[in-house]
Amino acid sequence: MRNLTLSVFAVALTLPSLPALGSDMPRDDSGRKDALTLWGVQFEELEYRYSDDDEEVGVWNGDAFYGTDELKFRWQSKGEYAIAEQAYEKLENQLLLQTPVSDFFDAKAGIRIDTPEGPDRTYGVLGMTGLAPHWFEVDASLYVSDEGDTSAEFDAEYELLFTNHLILSAALDATVAFSEDREIGVGKGLVSTETGLRLSYDLIDRSFSPYLGVVHERKYGDTADFAEAEGGGTEDWFAVIGARVSF
């Protein structure tokens, strides 16, 4: 659509000078001179989790993008669905614009909308994402909620190649809150971490890679106290089975 608009615009620009051109002048409808516009969909995690407390959870963490090297629109979605309770423990969608700021890093900005079971929140998002030296994929975001609370999230992932198809990936996700939001159970300070180890096998190219893994979730400080007060746990171990998917 954008290409079409651009072409029409270009043709319109050319029109007044047409008489001077003669009939054999080339007109570029090949699109080569336009920025390459691409799309993609990826699920880093699409999995079933079974906890040491016999809790069953369906989890996804994925994103879809559309855009050019210079500017991408990205829709990022994360969810945790408690199967017994039939309720979303976590449901988070981010709508982001992303642009390069260095060879290996992009800046991103947008909004995050949380609509899990319980109170909703909307956040403004500012962040950086990219590849750090030694092949660590990192992502850092700063959030300001509609309640005025600020928090930050840091993600890192590293892949170890046992073979070119059998890959162990280690992921760490940590959240820090700069103020308390009691209503959603978030205390000031280190809020929670999620650490995962997943052993995957690239079955169909890199578009379908089933994996087995283990995930550890932990809450800290006031956040842990709030969880305990509500009768919840503060630490969980999960066995996970799922697949990395991209198309």
Binding site: P26, L160, T163, D205, R206
Partner: protein, 558 residues
């Protein structure tokens, strides 16, 4: 289906009909069967590759190209010297050929040798739209042969080219299955010691570069004249005959190392121009290059034409035999090469000047982020070639330990131009960002670039500085690329100049063709992601048209 069949039948009749310089080509959807997979693609006269077009030097050819696709197409006559309006690059030479329409090309044939043609629209070429051109010379050739075959290579991928591009943009290592593993780490430790191995990995990790990044797009099946290794294209011969093999690399991405175990090859032509004969055991053919070699099998045996990709992720295979059905032994693929720090020599901000200058390959005295590169893992054996960085991991070595062709061996048979001083030098840094899979010239992608302006009548010296870790086959349309091998007037005349990582290569061009031309890396996915330029030749006999070109640049989106 019926249409395809009819088109196919027409294709068979082509050589009969096409006398007197008139040719008809249809552009069709075709099925491509590699033996490993069957894939829909684009072909000419119902097949991929298209028919071999045989022209005669001195004739004027008329070629009617009918587009049976539901999208625009074009045909570029790769390496042919012709008026720019006939060059077949949509948006630069002409408007392209809309779906369902016929475009008539007409141009004089002013050269001889082996060339090829392909679509210059979107990714039609990697999807199958290519064929060979053979031009018979007016005069006698400086070598003799009894029979000849076109040997046209490609790297056919099971994925549609648009999908390949998208995957590379999403994950630049999407197709790279030669990355170093935990196993390689321990193997290196036992070979080089723990500290050396660790420092080596840290140095590469620090740059976020992969040693194994030699072939971006793996998973292809190498084809020769449209046949996969199992389908085994076969050329017949009688023992004692001289056979001229016209090698053309029509790949999207793959360089091939070619050998025929048991036979020496005498290289007589490069990119359509005769060179002083040089006998080799093996040669590397860059994307879009052509080499003509003469072989002389003396006994009635089957010989394998074996073409390993430079990154050893795939191969093409064919056979020369006294009769159909005979097969020679097919060699194993050799070990995949790994890049070295020398191949990173061109990276900006890395002072590796010492490395390339120091013929001993010693890396002492280098200081990079406190790393002691003296301890890094280097290639052993010390094969060298002036067209590769000193200590490069990519320097080719003949499988039988014999002679491997180098650019440095190429000498023109007859100088095409009088030797003269270039009027100016233009530096073109070949740049890119592997992680983003974006490629550019002087750091600017085509979409943001102004055309490169040349003056008719000047002789330009181009200085290619490869700042990336990939090899780039640079192709200037419409005018010859005289490769500087240090032989003065005997420098070979080419249309593609392969520039290896971490090297600087010079070529000179006599600017003798007015109009506007494409100039790009011939790796399909590098060209499409920005390593492309429009060249405008100002002045010259075709002044009127060139003036028009200027207006188009200002007003139009070309």
């Amino acid at each position: 289906m019926k249409k395809a069949l009819m088109a196919g039948a027409l294709g068979l009749l082509m050589p009969v009909i096409a006398a007197a310089g008139e040719y008809n080509i249809t552009v069709d959807r075709v099925m491509i069967d590699t033996g490993d997979f069957v894939k829909e693609g684009i072909g000419y006269n119902g097949a991929s590759p298209g028919p071999v077009l045989r022209f005669k030097e001195g004739e004027t050819v008329t070629i009617n190209v009918t587009n049976n696709l539901d999208e625009p197409t074009s045909i570029h006559w790769h390496g042919l010297i012709l008026p720019y309006q006939q060059d077949g690059v949509p948006g630069i030479s002409f408007d392209g050929i809309p779906a369902g329409e016929t475009f008539t090309y007409e141009f004089p044939i002013v050269q001889s040798g082996t060339y090829w043609y392909h679509s210059h629209s979107g990714f039609q070429e990697p999807n199958g739209a290519y064929g060979a051109i053979v031009i018979e010379p007016e005069g006698r050739e400086p070598f003799r042969y009894d029979r000849e075959y076109v040997v046209q290579l490609t790297d056919k991928h099971p994925h549609d080219a648009n999908r390949v591009m998208r995957n590379l943009k999403m994950m630049p290592d999407y197709y790279n299955r030669q990355q170093q593993t935990v196993g390689d780490f321990f193997a290196d430790i036992s070979k080089h010691g723990f500290m050396t191995t660790l420092q080596d990995r840290l140095a590469w990790g620090d740059m976020r570069m992969m040693k194994a990044d030699v072939e971006d797009v793996q998973g292809f099946t190498g084809l020769i004249n449209g046949k996969g290794p199992e389908q085994n294209w076969t050329g017949l011969f009688e023992p004692g005959e001289r056979i001229r093999l016209r090698f053309i690399n029509s790949s999207a991405m793959a360089y091939f190392d070619i050998r025929i175990p048991g036979l020496e090859m005498t290289v007589v032509q490069a990119d359509g121009n005769n060179v002083q004969p040089v006998t080799v055991d093996e040669f590397r053919i860059g994307v879009a290059e052509t080499y003509d070699v003469i072989v002389r099998p003396k006994i009635a045996e089957a010989y394998t034409i074996f073409a390993e990709s430079m990154g050893r992720s795939g191969y093409a295979r064919a056979t020369l035999a006294p009769e159909e059905g005979m097969e020679g032994p097919v060699p194993e693929l050799r070990e995949a090469p790994l890049l070295t720090m020398a191949d990173m020599g061109g990276m900006p901000g890395m002072d590796h000047g010492d490395m390339t200058a120091d013929a001993s390959g010693s890396m002492e005295g280098m200081d990079h982020s406190g790393m002691d590169h003296g301890a890094m893992i280097m290639v052993e054996g010390g094969a060298s070639d002036p067209f590769y960085a000193e200590g490069s991991g990519l320097v080719p070595v003949a499988a039988n330990g014999g002679k491997f062709l180098s650019y440095a061996d190429l000498r023109a048979q007859n100088p095409l131009y009088e030797e003269r001083e270039p009027t100016r030098e233009i530096e073109l840094r070949l740049t890119g960002n592997m992680e983003r899979y974006s490629w550019s010239i002087n750091g600017v992608k085509y979409e943001d670039a102004e055309p490169l302006k040349l003056q008719y009548g000047e002789r330009v010296r181009f200085k290619f500085v490869n700042e990336t870790m990939m090899t780039h086959p640079m192709h200037l349309h419409g005018m010859w690329s005289i490769l500087d091998v240090g032989a003065g007037e005997w420098n070979p005349v080419k249309h593609v100049i392969s520039v290896q990582p971490g090297t600087t290569v010079y070529m000179e061009t006599e600017v003798d063709a007015p109009g506007q031309w494409a100039f790009h890396c011939h790796l399909s996915y590098h060209a499409a992601s920005g390593m492309f330029r429009k060249v405008v030749v100002e002045g010259g006999p075709d002044q009127g048209n060139t003036a028009g070109v200027e207006v188009a640049k200002d007003g139009g989106d070309t």
